[in-house]
């Protein structure tokens, strides 16, 4: 689960890491009281979106007075922001963070994350804050320091001091910086985060070292032991469909194409999308109904897919192992009847009791297009989405 900047900063502040004074607003009418609360101009108006690349896209504006703040807020709030990471569709700005303007003396990069290949937590730091760390890692890896630390002991004081020294943080601020490093590493563990990134971690004239921007991603698998995040559970969903899928226990990610997919298993679901693309089509979604999906979940999955108006045809690809194909066929028949499906549906079933399952689909009279392997299924659904194959055509030999 991703957090917005203002949510991430609130967490950092609760860990004892200083942040600029700021106020969140979700309506333009809140602007003047938010400005009063935040302090004297200049103030910074920051769009609260999950995607990166916000600064370059005009999502962060310095306002020298009330009218500039109002203009910036009006331009951003409720409007679409297109950044390098959002794709051309952009993302709607639902909240703004208004922050005090501080004088930056130096900017650093800091993150704590799990190094998957070394299987240890690491602190990553650089003297070059404010830049994209991925680029820096490629071009000048020597500008980045990586410090692994023990998951039981946490980041030790001498490790924190060494990082602060390597960053050449001015001596009067070095001890405070080391303290902040230890707190961030501790907070990473206490919240089950998978990433805490402070970029820039800035030295300011007014307040010393503080977190000027922050990004936090939490481990979805650990949310069960963090009731404090319950309210945010669906907040970072990119669409109402994604939010809904989480509530019903289905993995769904919306995409830009026209072919809806329903698959059991995440790997097979990705492979099915790949197969559609290889055959000249574009998937409208990733959807994994899970290994033990029941009729209910299959029906809910269909509802999610047909709610997407871009979808011109649907591909169901199920490898029934423990889930038996005849049971799945029953679920598909019931689900399509209950959602009154009006677009072509290609079904590929394989696995336990497959013959019985295929016969049930053929006998249903619902005009399913069936396929026996993944490639055939992908070809048929791509053709159907282009309107080349009329609904109700059951190919010979099925």
């Amino acid at each position: 689960m991703r957090l917005l900047e203002h949510q991430a900063k609130k967490l950092l502040s609760s860990w004892g890491v200083p942040i600029p004074r700021g106020t969140v607003l979700t309506r333009l009418s809140q602007l003047s009281s938010a400005a009063r609360k935040t302090g004297r101009y200049p103030l910074i108006v920051k769009a609260q979106v999950y995607a990166g690349g916000r600064g370059k896209a005009g999502g962060v504006v310095k306002a020298r007075n009330a009218s500039e703040a109002k203009a910036a807020a009006a331009r951003l709030l409720g409007k679409k922001l297109v950044t390098a990471q959002t794709g051309p569709a952009g993302t709607v700005v639902k909240a703004l963070l208004l922050e005090e303007g501080l004088t930056l003396q130096q900017e650093f990069y800091l993150s704590v994350l799990l190094d998957r290949s070394r299987q240890v937590p690491v602190v990553i730091a650089s003297r070059e804050g404010g830049v994209a760390i991925e680029e820096l890692a490629k071009e000048r890896p020597e500008a980045i320091s990586t410090t692994p630390f023990d998951p039981f002991l946490g980041l030790l004081p001498h490790q924190a001091r060494r990082i602060a020294g390597w960053l050449e943080i001015p001596v009067p601020h070095r001890e405070a910086a080391a303290q902040q490093l230890i707190r961030v590493a501790r907070g990473f563990f206490s919240t089950d985060a998978s990433l805490v990134e402070i970029n820039p971690w800035a030295l300011t004239r007014e307040k010393g070292m503080l977190a000027l921007d922050a990004k936090v991603t939490l481990d979805d698998n650990a949310l069960f032991r963090h009731p404090e995040f319950d309210k945010l559970k669906t907040a970072d969903a990119d669409s109402p469909s994604e939010a809904r899928s989480r509530l019903i226990g289905i993995n769904y990610v919306g995409l830009d194409g026209t072919i809806g997919c329903m698959v059991n298993g995440a790997g097979l679901a990705m492979a099915t999308m790949d197969s559609i693309k290889l055959n000249g089509g574009d998937p409208a979604n990733f959807l994994d109904v899970g290994g033990g999906a029941d009729v209910n979940q299959v029906r809910e999955a269909f509802k999610l897919i047909v709610a997407d108006r871009k979808v011109k045809a649907i591909l169901v690809n199920i490898f029934g192992g423990i889930m038996k194909c005849d049971v799945i066929a029953q679920g598909i028949i019931q689900a399509t009847q209950s959602v009154k499906l009006k677009i072509p549906l290609v079904v590929r079933l394989e696995g336990t009791n497959v013959e019985r399952g295929r016969k049930m689909l053929a006998d249903s009279g619902l005009g399913f297009i069936t396929a026996t392997d993944m490639d055939e299924a992908a070809k048929k659904v791509v053709a159907a989405a282009r309107g080349l194959s009329p609904k109700g055509t059951v190919p010979k030999g099925v």
Binding site: A51, Q85, G87, L114, R116, S117, Q119, V120, P121, I133, E134, D150, P151, F152, F189, D192, S194, L195, D219, D220, N221, A222, F224, R225, D238, N251, V253, L255, V263, N264, G265, A266, G267, L268, A269, M270, A271, T272, M273, D274, S275, I276, K277, L278, P283, F286, D288, G291, G292, F319, G321, I322, E350, G351, T352, D373, M374, D375, A378
Partner: protein, 294 residues
């Protein structure tokens, strides 16, 4: 021969009284596995599907001489179940449980590193995978047995149903399997591609290897480096997620392109450079292998 398990392996099921645990304990036994006991705290002295239940893994090992376990406990108790099995001295620990927090697995890995100077470190397969099967002999996991057939292709995968898909393609082409290993879809798997590849390369019964990866992390790149240096047997790979968007988790906890790392292109490039035959289309994984060993 095979890797990890055969029909002589003595298997426990942790979480045997749960719905999945009891069902799969019976399925495993039916396939030929020696399921010698189950563990559910507080249910010791009873039985499930005719299999004796114990309160602790240590007690089960003492009474049954088990040397392997399949873990089906709920995610919040997953890491503890793994460590209980480690402490009881089991050499093969297969974790089916989905949803174990990453930091719990991190602590498990750290604990194991502390053990390693003393000698035997167990193989932990999973979490969040279908398990391990040696066709015709035994399985610890949830995969349907009948799609497999004994043979000489080793298969290692981060996925569940996509593994079944690949196995089924192989079986239909008459290409049987030596052992199939699902290392799981989490970001910190107990066993990596590299460790399984090493075992397959050393296994005289395995003639060729299918590897199924996906986006996220760098396990495929590390596997490619290992293959280049150490694997002489033919390797065929498919990597899922060519069409997956960045920064979105694709079902599996580990399947996410984060901060520009773990892209499909980078994995394919690394594997190709190591001489691995790539199946671009998931429908031709079996065919690609057939061509590679002709």
């Amino acid at each position: 021969m095979s890797i990890y398990l055969d029909k002589s392996t003595r298997v426990l099921v942790q979480g045997i009284t749960g719905r999945a645990g009891s069902f799969h304990a019976a399925q495993m036994r039916e396939y030929g596995s020696q399921v010698v006991g189950g563990v559910t705290p507080g249910r010791g002295g009873t039985a499930c599907e005719g299999i004796p239940i114990f309160d602790t893994v240590a007690e089960a090992v003492e009474k049954t001489q088990a040397n392997a376990t399949g873990i089906f406990v709920p995610a919040p108790f997953g890491a503890d179940a793994v460590l209980e099995a480690v402490d009881a001295g089991l050499s093969l620990i297969v974790v089916i449980t989905e949803g174990i927090p990453a930091l719990d697995m991190l602590r498990v890995k750290s604990y194991l590193r502390g053990l390693s100077p003393k000698g035997t470190v167990p193989s932990i397969i999973g979490p969040n995978g279908p398990g391990v099967i040696t066709p015709g002999q035994a399985k610890i996991g949830i995969m349907p047995g009948y799609i497999h057939r004994p043979g000489s292709i080793g298969l290692v995968s981060r996925s569940g149903t996509l593994t079944y898909e690949a196995v089924w393609q192989l079986t239909q082409l008459g290409l049987g399997q030596s052992t199939c290993v699902g290392i799981g879809g989490d970001s910190l798997p107990g066993t990596s591609f590299v460790e399984v590849l090493k075992a397959f390369e050393a296994d005289p019964e395995t003639k060729a290897i299918v590897m199924i990866g996906e986006i996220g992390g760098s396990a495929e790149e590390e596997a490619a480096a290992f293959i280049r240096a150490h694997v002489r047997k033919p390797v065929v790979a498919f990597v899922a997620g060519a069409t997956a968007p960045a920064e979105k988790r694709m079902g599996h906890a580990g399947a996410v392109i984060a901060q520009g790392q773990g892209t499909h292109a980078s994995k394919i490039q690394a594997l190709q450079a190591a001489g691995v035959k790539i199946a671009r289309n998931p429908a031709v994984i079996g065919r690609t292998m057939a061509d590679a060993i002709l």
